[in-house]
């Protein structure tokens, strides 16, 4: 008996410890680097509730952690949806350090793969290229292209994962800049550098490169793995990029993934334009014919409406005439950036209006736990527009994956969502209708 009890205590201990750990991370991100901070006793952040129990406090902390990432700006802003981004990865000796687990290099490559997938998921008509730096030279793994499989294949290639020598920041930036000056000006020009070294081995004056980047409106962002470097800070500041140094593994991912949502369009420089695009029809030819992208015999594919060459996959640029080819769902995939869902509001016990989550039907607690005040959080989150109440899982799912408030689109009982939506964006709501694909 005593053995089982001891084990139970152990479980609880581990649980609390985890929660405080994560909480510390949160603090650390708001404060300074963990090594700069004063010694802190993790048990100080825990306060017993009225019954002298910790579990409710721990649960609350965990819920806060979950929601932290959610509370973001939901204002409707113009965003540059057509992006051109170079991901620069440092492959110098410094990347072999093991201060990030399992090692700087392995973690970087894992996150880079996730980054590529997520980038194309959220920016379907954008392009990406990858550059690595080792032995003082920059090496282009993939050119700017819109096909995630090419990039993932290049990242998985063992030869592209070997580290050696010193990095050269200037070479990498020059290479990225040379490619980016050729892209049409309506798209964004961005470089994202993951840099583990504290030094750079350059052929010339890097300030010339910075001036050049600034002139070409290339935005350079930095994720430093070691410590802050003055020249990088200047570089990011000059080019309107962001600069961050990672504190731990989770923070690394946060910093890297900050570059995934399309950046807001700066008002100072008008680069928006009408871009000519083709909407190819699917060919259902029974006989195989050559495609222009791989020069292989294939059955089916898409026909470029301008030059009638056959392309295997969308979206892409036609290899023959250069026309951007997309399908209407590709365009629709980006619309959620333009109309984000409002952040849900925590509901106190005094404001509850339902006993189950509106979307997933999970039952809520019907009354506050003994001791909790009427103004404490009831575990419900309500949409400011339709006032339906959701559980924390649905709150996260709605904002991170779905991008629709189920209440606003499902409930006629509270308010007319159509009227509200059309009030806010009259032109778009009316005009979106013809976007449907048309079946012949």
């Amino acid at each position: 008996m005593s053995g089982r009890k001891a084990k139970k205590d152990d479980d609880e201990y581990v649980d609390i410890d985890d929660a405080t750990d994560t909480h510390e991370n949160e603090d650390a991100q708001q404060g300074g680097y963990s090594w700069e901070e004063e010694y802190k006793r993790s048990w100080d952040v825990l306060q017993e509730d009225a019954e002298g129990r910790l579990s409710s406090v721990v649960a609350h902390l965990q819920q806060q952690m979950k929601r932290r990432r959610l509370l973001r700006d939901t204002a409707t802003v113009q965003r540059g949806i057509i992006r051109h981004l170079f991901l620069v990865i440092d492959l110098s000796e410094a990347m072999n350090e093991k201060d990030l687990r399992p090692s700087r290099l392995e973690l970087t490559l894992t996150y880079a793969r996730q980054f590529v997938t997520e980038y194309f998921d959220q920016n379907p008509i954008s392009q990406l290229g990858i550059i690595v730096i080792r032995d003082g030279v920059a090496e282009r793994l993939t050119d700017l292209s819109g096909n995630p499989t090419d990039h993932l294949r290049a990242l998985k290639n063992k030869r592209n994962q070997e580290t050696s020598g010193e990095p050269s920041l200037q070479n990498a930036l020059d290479m990225a800049c040379a490619s980016l000056v050729n892209v049409p000006s309506h798209g964004s020009r961005e470089v994202l550098v993951v840099y583990g070294s504290l030094t750079t081995c350059d052929p010339g004056d890097i300030y010339d490169t910075i001036a050049q980047l600034k002139k070409e409106h290339v935005r350079v962002s930095f994720v430093g793995l070691a410590a802050e470097i003055q020249v990088c800070r200047t570089l990011c500041k000059e080019t309107n990029g962001s600069y961050g140094v990672v504190l731990n593994e989770a923070h690394f991912k946060d910093l890297l993934f900050e570059a995934i949502p399309p950046p807001a369009v700066t008002q100072t420089r008008n680069t928006s334009n009408l871009v000519m695009m083709g909407f190819p029809t699917k060919s259902n030819d029974l006989h195989p014919s050559f495609c222009v992208c791989h020069s292989k015999l294939t059955v089916g594919g898409y026909i470029c409406p301008r030059c009638s060459s056959k392309i295997c996959e969308l979206p892409t640029d036609c290899d023959v005439c250069g026309l951007t080819l997309v399908s209407s769902p590709h365009l629709a995939r980006s619309y959620h950036h333009l109309f984000p869902v409002d952040n849900f509001i925590e509901v106190p016990w005094s404001g509850i209006n339902s006993l189950h989550c509106f979307a997933c039907q999970t039952a809520f607690d019907s009354s506050p736990p003994p001791g909790a005040g009427l103004e404490s959080n009831s575990g419900r989150y309500s949409c400011p527009r339709c006032h339906n109440q959701f559980c924390v899982d649905c709150d996260i799912f709605v904002h991170e994956v779905l991008h629709n408030c189920p209440g606003c689109w499902a409930a006629g009982s509270n308010i007319s969502t159509v009227q509200i939506h059309s009030k806010k964006q009259p032109a778009i709501q009316n005009d979106v209708m013809p976007m449907q694909g048309v079946t012949s």
């Binding site: 009408l274 250069g322 976007m435 449907q436 694909g437």
Partner: protein, 328 residues
């Protein structure tokens, strides 16, 4: 393509969205080959029972996509179950019925009855007489998300079936597409069974994008047969079956300005609205475009803007007339 994530032992969760739009069902009941909602529900319940009979732990959920609002038909919330038990709805006990089937059937019929009797719900969205399919899809995905979060072993394989009778509703386009892309991300196929009414482009795209089955019912009286043959197979069995699908899903777009179908158009780089001709201001997001000559390729020997966009797209459309502007 083989769905390798599935196996024979999976538990299958079938989330069915039943379009209960009374206006459309009224039309369907008086069509040449009539099918009333009552008849349809009878056949759908048999389909549900067949799904549950396939495997002991198969699960089913049903959502009504009504005019103006959506509602879960099954499972019902605990509070609702208590209310029903208190009102003695389930008095009839049938010794010949398998209790699991009977519970589901009774719950769904009771939920539908209360849905149809509820005329208090303000139906402001009646304007275009379509059902809230995007809301129903969103609820289905939230429900599936919760079930999958609770399923640590990853054994539950969800799919969505939409029984549609209403036409497309254009103002739901963005929200439907958002739901479709999330379904694709979670690899949940959306099957579409068009019981009555014309083509639904949005749902066609939904099933195409998520790899689901799309079927136009030709003889609605035989709905059950269509359901059993095309929609009953679970995701694992689909690897070995040849199910009906839409051969031609056309992804061409229509311009926002004239609603003409075009194959080459101009897309606003800020909001991605589509236009058939160049104009200095985006009519959707009011962005002013910088005047500049179009890239050389676009100017050289460009054919007519589209095959269907007939005679004269305004003067601004041709690059010849827009380049002088850039010099001013």
């Amino acid at each position: 393509m083989l769905d390798t994530a599935t196996s024979e032992d999976d538990t299958n969760l079938l989330v069915t969205i039943v379009d209960t739009n009374p206006l459309a069902w009224q039309q369907s009941a008086t069509a040449k080959i009539p099918l009333s909602l009552d008849d349809a529900i009878r056949q759908i319940l048999i389909f549900f029972n067949a799904h549950m009979a396939l495997k002991h732990d198969n699960k089913v959920a049903a959502i009504a996509s009504h005019i103006g609002h959506c509602k879960f038909l099954y499972p019902v919330t605990d509070a609702e179950t208590h209310r029903r038990q208190a009102n003695q709805y389930k008095i009839s006990k049938d010794a010949n019925a398998y209790p699991n089937f009977k519970d589901v059937n009774d719950d769904i019929i009771e939920s539908l009855r209360s849905l149809m009797l509820d005329t208090d719900t303000p139906q402001k969205n009646l304007n275009d007489g379509t059902s809230m399919i995007s809301g129903a899809l969103s609820m289905a995905l939230c429900y599936i998300n919760r079930i999958m979060n609770q399923d640590d072993l990853g054994r539950i394989k969800p799919r969505i079936l939409v029984l549609s009778v209403s036409p497309d509703s254009p103002y739901q386009y963005i929200s439907i597409m958002n739901a479709v892309f999330s379904a694709q991300k979670m690899s949940i196929p959306i099957d579409v069974c068009k019981v009555y009414g014309g083509e639904v482009a949005f749902l066609q795209q939904a099933s195409h994008i998520t790899g689901g089955v799309y079927l136009d019912v030709e003889n609605p009286q035989a709905l059950l047969q269509y359901l059993l043959f095309s929609f009953l197979p679970e995701r694992y069995a689909r690897n070995y079956l040849c199910l009906p699908n839409k051969e031609q899903v056309d992804f061409r777009a229509a311009c926002f300005c004239h609603k003409r179908i075009i194959d080459i158009g101009y897309v606003c780089s800020v909001c991605l609205s589509i236009f058939c001709s160049w104009s200095p201001v985006c009519s959707t997001c009011r962005t002013k475009f910088a005047f500049r000559a179009l890239p050389p390729l676009a100017g050289k020997g460009r054919p007519a803007i589209s095959r269907t966009a007939s005679p004269a797209p305004s003067a601004a459309a041709s690059p010849g007339s827009s380049s002088p502007m850039s010099t001013t």
